[in-house]
């Protein structure tokens, strides 16, 4: 059995060789594809923002790297972290996604954090990054909006990318153009909500509690998306008369002792499915609850009493890849704010264990949302009367 002997020996070769072969190759658009994409972009077709980018694994792009040595030489990236957020999963994932480009392409990357929670201190951190030679600053929190606007005027040659930064986070007057050296992206929250609602109904849950931490624009988008996704699935299953969604807002940004009480409240209402929209502390509620979907946090879910979790997370890798493609092809879309649909949907273990919905079906639903064949409102208000499933609005819980 000599072949087997060799096969065994291959199993023991140096770790470094294996790790290198294990690494995923990076995918870039072919030059023509990038060029075509930019043409469409310039033409102002907003749907380009989501073209051919799916938030699930397995989407292959043509591979020839179109970047030039000149572009690579001039790239040095500073990742501007949120104040005191260095250890959050979201920040870590962002850094890891960016760091791959340093490993693969030798693009110098460094992260910076402000020493305080103010625009002036954020500006100081950004100034430090520029003094260190950074030519691009990725600002990874909406709170950078003001500092980005000031920095754009002070350093017109520095490219500023706001991740999670929307048009209204920038300090610009209404009607005023976004500076040419700023590009902002936010996540298409309603799509995350839609996928949650759709999948929850497909999985057979009928009584849903939809809990938003605070009725911010972002949370409202998720809620409306959830309702529309749940209704769409109910319609497909001809189960509209069986589905009920109770919507409620916590009216607080923080966690604490009342979390357990909140969980008990949900239990008392006999919800068999819970949608939680908010920051990491909601994971504690999810852990107390049999079935929950959690969104807008990338913290790993660490068990609890939950049997099944629908976990919508920001697909940070896709977002960074998208930004890096723009930078590497030297096609920086300055003066623009757009929304991206980069989400990933897993169960709590980070895998896919849903019984009635396949990953491919979810991909298909998302693609239909992206290409417009499936509708999802971007509204931030809803009227329960407009739905064919039963929607009950409970207002603020406190």
């Amino acid at each position: 059995m000599n072949g087997e002997k060799l096969l065994q020996a291959i199993g023991q070769v140096d770790d470094e060789l294996i790790a290198r072969a294990a690494k995923k190759e990076r995918h870039y658009l072919l030059p023509w594809a990038a060029f075509a994409a930019m043409l469409v972009f310039v033409a102002g077709l907003s749907f380009l923002a989501f073209g051919d980018l799916l938030p699930f694994a397995g989407v292959e792009q043509p591979v020839e790297p179109p970047y030039s040595e000149a572009v690579l030489e001039n790239l040095q990236i500073g990742l501007m972290m949120d104040y005191q957020a260095l250890n959050s999963a979201y920040e870590r994932e962002t850094w890891e996604a960016l760091f791959k480009y340093q490993e693969d392409l030798n693009i110098p990357c460094q992260y910076y954090a402000p020493t305080g929670d103010s625009t002036a201190e954020r500006l100081d951190a950004m100034t430090q990054a520029v003094e260190d030679g950074c030519t691009v600053l990725l600002c990874n929190h909406y709170s950078y909006g003001g500092a980005m606007t000031e920095m754009a005027a002070l350093n017109p040659d520095i490219k500023l990318v706001g991740i999670g930064v929307g048009l209204y986070d920038l300090y610009i007057e209404e009607g005023e153009a976004i500076p040419d050296n700023i590009y902002c992206l936010t996540y298409q929250e309603e799509y995350g909500g839609y996928l949650s609602g759709y999948t929850a109904v497909r999985e057979g849950y009928e009584t849903h509690g939809c809990y938003g931490q605070m009725s911010t624009f972002s949370v409202l988008h998720y809620v409306v998306g959830y309702l529309e996704g749940a209704q769409a699935a109910a319609r497909e299953m001809e189960a509209e008369d069986r589905i009920q969604v109770r919507v409620e807002y916590g009216n607080q940004f923080y966690g604490g002792a009342d979390l357990l009480e909140m969980s008990k409240l949900f239990q008392a209402r006999d919800n068999d499915m819970l949608m939680l929209i908010g920051s990491g502390y909601l994971l504690e509620v999810a852990a107390e609850y049999p079935f929950a979907t959690i969104t807008t946090t990338n913290e790993p879910f660490a068990g609890g009493n939950s049997e099944t979790q629908f976990y919508i997370q920001y697909d940070v890798d896709k977002t960074i890849d998208r930004i890096m493609e723009m930078l590497l092809t030297d096609e920086f879309p300055g003066g623009c704010a757009e929304k991206v649909p980069h989400y990933r949907l897993n169960d709590g273990a980070g895998t896919w264990s849903f019984s009635h919905t396949s990953r491919e079906e979810c991909q298909q639903v998302l693609q239909e949302l992206i290409d417009g064949t499936r509708e999802c409102s971007q509204a931030i208000e809803f009227d329960p009367e407009d739905y064919t499933i039963e929607v009950i609005f409970l207002g603020n819980s406190k």
Binding site: I10, Q12, R92
Partner: protein
Amino acid sequence: MDDSRIVALYWQRQEEAITASAQKYGPYCNTISYNITCSKEDAEECVNETWLRSWNTIPPQRPTLLSAFFGKIVRNCSMDVLRKKASLKRGGGNTPLALEELEECIAGGSDVEQQAESRQLTESLNRFLRSLPQRDCTLFLRRYFFMDSLEAAAKHCHLSRNNAGVILHRTRQKLAQHLKKEGLQ
């Protein structure tokens, strides 16, 4: 979570180490195992066994490349499962084909066990792989370490199936020459 943090959790004997490992490397290990066993159940079992063996070996070990560390464990475990189930050649997945292809490298009736210790063979393989262009080395390992199908290995390296087949054929020929030169064939 980066690898050093995961390893630190193992050293601290925190069970979160396994959750974090599964989250980051679960699909990766599952793919390797499935490539070998061609069985969802066996793959799942091997992946679980991988976390258990890791828990039992870290500490004292402190791996720096977890992809390689977990990859080796899950591969060995999967090969064991396959061996137990039947003779290797009658096994499922990509293993029989990979095995058949490799036999040409140590063909001719010589008994490797009598000529060289397994460690010598591995060291020789390391030297050979390091002498290859990176793409060819990756392609070889995708096919024979990760047991990818030819299509999957080609895709990983952004090659057409035919091109990958030709490169692998030449690499195997080179390996046969290399082993012969080192007295291992």
